[in-house]
């Protein structure tokens, strides 16, 4: 392969993965914007979604339920999880300092980690393909079909998300509550509905992201490292910007691909901490991120 094709290959697969990163990061941003929770347990949300999907869908060798049924059941379970998390944990955190909800999410991280490992064990499970697999040739560049499908799903979800926040009454109410909570309440936006929708959306998006990643890498607790990716994405894009998520996801994934290919022979393992270095770089140069509007508040 010549250099141009290699570069094209790296960038294209980076864009495809980056779209999934961007989508996943949106769930984190929604919780941060509307519930004001810096949810460090977000990676566990994604793992839980992937394991639930595996439970209903099964592995390629022994599929369990038809795709449509499995999707509906997974969605219901994830929505129930989101509602439970909101009602039992984060509703108590309304009006409490950011530090309290952050530590709560740390506890939730450990708790979910333990529960998931007890329930499903440490081995990696192969998820029955929800989308077509196999290589797909676009000219000289070859990408895998599941990446293309993930890209399509992520794109559709991102657009749906943007439309929800721009045109629906509920979405507008949630944005209003982010700008000024008291004023939004006075205008009739329900605070508890806002909180519930926030956590359901966050849990569902985390699950979708986790499942899309799992179709490629398999289902295991290692998926929870997605939270590091998400942190990097939201910092690059801006903590409170949904468009920033898309941009941050693309930058991170393409950058990781390029450093992995060109720098790993020189510095083994550099691709693994590329996101960390990017975080430091962004914080030094532009702390609000590329598209963020206001700096996050004090703890």
């Amino acid at each position: 392969m010549d250099t141009v094709t290699t570069l094209l290959q790296l960038v294209l697969s980076g864009v495809l993965v980056g779209s999934v990163y961007g989508l996943t990061a949106m769930g984190f941003v929604v919780a941060y914007r509307n519930a004001r929770v810096f949810n460090i347990a977000y990676g566990q949300f994604a793992v839980l979604g992937a394991f639930l999907a595996w439970t209903f869908l099964g592995s390629p060798q022994s599929p369990r339920l038809p795709l449509a049924v499995a999707v509906v059941l997974t969605l219901l379970a994830v929505v129930a999880f989101g509602l439970a998390v909101e009602r039992l944990l984060f509703r108590r955190m309304i009006g409490r300092p950011l530090f309290a909800s952050f530590v709560l999410s740390l506890g939730l991280l450990a708790f979910l980690h333990g529960v998931i490992m007890i329930a499903w064990g440490p081995s990696t499970k192969v998820l029955a393909a929800a989308v077509p697999t196999g290589p797909l040739a676009l000219g000289d560049v070859v990408v895998s079909r599941e990446f293309v499908w993930s890209f399509a799903i992520a794109l559709a979800a991102t657009i749906g998300f943007a439309l929800f926040f721009r045109f629906t009454r509920l979405g507008l109410a949630m944005r209003a509550a982010y700008d000024n909570e008291v004023a939004a309440r006075c205008l009739g936006a329900s605070a508890s509905l806002n909180s519930q929708i926030t956590w359901v959306l966050s849990a569902v998006i985390a699950a979708v992201g986790g499942i899309l990643m799992a179709t490629v890498s398999g289902v295991s607790i290692g998926l929870s490292e997605l939270v590091m990716v998400v942190l990097a994405v939201v910092l690059i894009g801006g903590m409170d910007s949904l468009a920033g998520c898309v941009l941050g996801g693309l930058i991170l994934a393409v950058g990781t691909n390029l450093t992995g290919y060109y720098l790993s022979p020189l510095l083994p393992g550099i691709a693994g901490i590329f996101s960390m270095l990017l975080i430091l770089g962004v914080l030094v140069i532009r702390p609000t991120g590329l598209l963020g509007s206001r700096p996050i508040e004090r703890v």
Binding site: F38, L89, R92, R96, L98, F99, A100, F102, V103, L104, L106, G107, L108, L109, A110, F111, L112, H113, G114, V115, M117, I118, P122, M228, L231, L235, L267, P268, G269, I270, G272, I273, M276, L277, I279, L280, L283, V284, P287, P295, I296, E297, R298, V299
Partner: protein, 350 residues
């Protein structure tokens, strides 16, 4: 009739760490128990309890440091186990490669870890909120990457044969010797931290935690104070790391995980943020839960694989943190304080 209330007649008495005869008595009893603890533990016939106690003392030293950074100054650090790791590696390298004695390497490693803390905190210190948490989290992975990549640190195999300290011809080797050494260092750390809360600097830490804008209005240099908080917290971490390296005599990357950082934060929250005694109580609380689970897991009463025991520990620790944040956000120390106040005011007041 018994006297009620505080009954303090001058400011010096109010400021004193130990302000009444009862407290002196309690302290004397505590000193006696701590002094005789190895004998008590030897009496149980199980050597692992003394090892557990020693690791608990090291953890206390480390968490006192995190209590300065996070509990007092309100800077959330997710990289505390990385600072301990750095301190341990520095002490080990100074002893093994440079041939320094323990007593020279330990303070040097402590100070160098403090400087590392300054460097790490510098990018985030002017920013508000979670940037410090994210930067320290990033530092954890970058530090592991660097220590894994360097030749001098032995890569993933780490360093072995780290020498133990010698005091006046006596080599500190047994768990019992280590216990007394760690106890002395631990008590000094508790005293240093308790005194810090009464100093100008300690009050500045509390002020920037409560409200940094108001603190700046009072003439406190907020970024500088944050840097100081990070420096002091990292000092304790470096000290704990140096002691750890020499006590275990082996240091490897996988001994320091991100989970440890999370537990340290949990200990502070459970104990009661900002109070030195709270940090100590929090460490004891979580460590004892862990030890009980460990004993149950290894005893064979309930058939548990070692993996399952670890997951159960995670679940229980997580649940403990969740419950404390939800229902007793000021930690165990506030519960104790409530009991004390009620006792002193009885039969008046609540």
């Amino acid at each position: 009739m018994r006297r009620r209330g505080r009954g303090r007649t001058d400011y010096a008495r109010d400021l004193a760490l130990v302000s009444s005869g009862q407290q002196w008595l309690a302290l004397a009893v505590l000193a006696l128990v701590l002094g005789l603890l190895p004998l008590l533990l030897a009496w149980t016939g199980n050597r692992s309890w003394l090892t557990f106690t020693n690791f608990t003392l090291i953890t206390i030293i480390a968490v006192i440091g995190l209590n300065v950074t996070t509990g007092m100054a309100g800077l959330v650090s997710l990289g505390h186990s990385a600072f301990i790791m750095v301190g341990g590696y520095l002490a080990a390298l100074l002893m093994l490669e440079a041939g320094w004695s323990f007593w020279a390497a330990l303070p040097a490693a402590t100070l160098m870890t403090g400087v590392v803390g300054l460097v790490v905190a510098a990018p985030a210190i002017r920013l508000k909120g979670f940037y410090v948490a994210i930067v320290t989290l990033a530092f954890f992975f970058i530090a592991q990457f660097i220590l894994r990549s360097l030749d001098i640190t032995g890569g993933i195999h780490g360093l072995i044969g780290i020498p133990s300290p010698v005091i006046g011809g006596l080599r500190i080797r047994t768990d019992q010797h280590w216990y007394y050494l760690l106890l002395v260092v631990g008590v000094l750390c508790v005293l240093a931290s308790a005194n810090l809360t009464r100093s100008r600097m300690g009050r500045a830490f509390l002020a920037i935690r409560e409200n940094d804008v108001a603190a700046a209005g009072l003439g406190i240099n907020v970024p500088l104070t944050r840097l100081r908080a990070f420096f002091v917290g990292s000092l304790f971490a470096g000290l704990a790391g140096g002691l750890w390296a020499s006590y275990v005599s082996v240091i490897r990357l996988d001994q320091f995980t991100i989970w440890d950082s999370i537990w340290y934060l949990g200990m502070i929250v459970i104990g009661g943020g900002g109070k030195t005694a709270g940090a100590v109580v929090g460490v004891l609380f979580l460590r004892l839960i862990g030890q009980v689970l460990h004993v149950i897991g290894t005893s064979g009463w309930i058939p548990l694989s070692s993996n399952l025991a670890i997951y159960i520990t995670h679940t229980v620790y997580g649940l403990a943190v969740i419950l404390f944040v939800s229902f007793w956000p000021l930690g165990l120390m506030s519960v104790w304080q409530k009991i004390r106040v009620n006792y002193k005011r009885w039969p008046f007041g609540v």
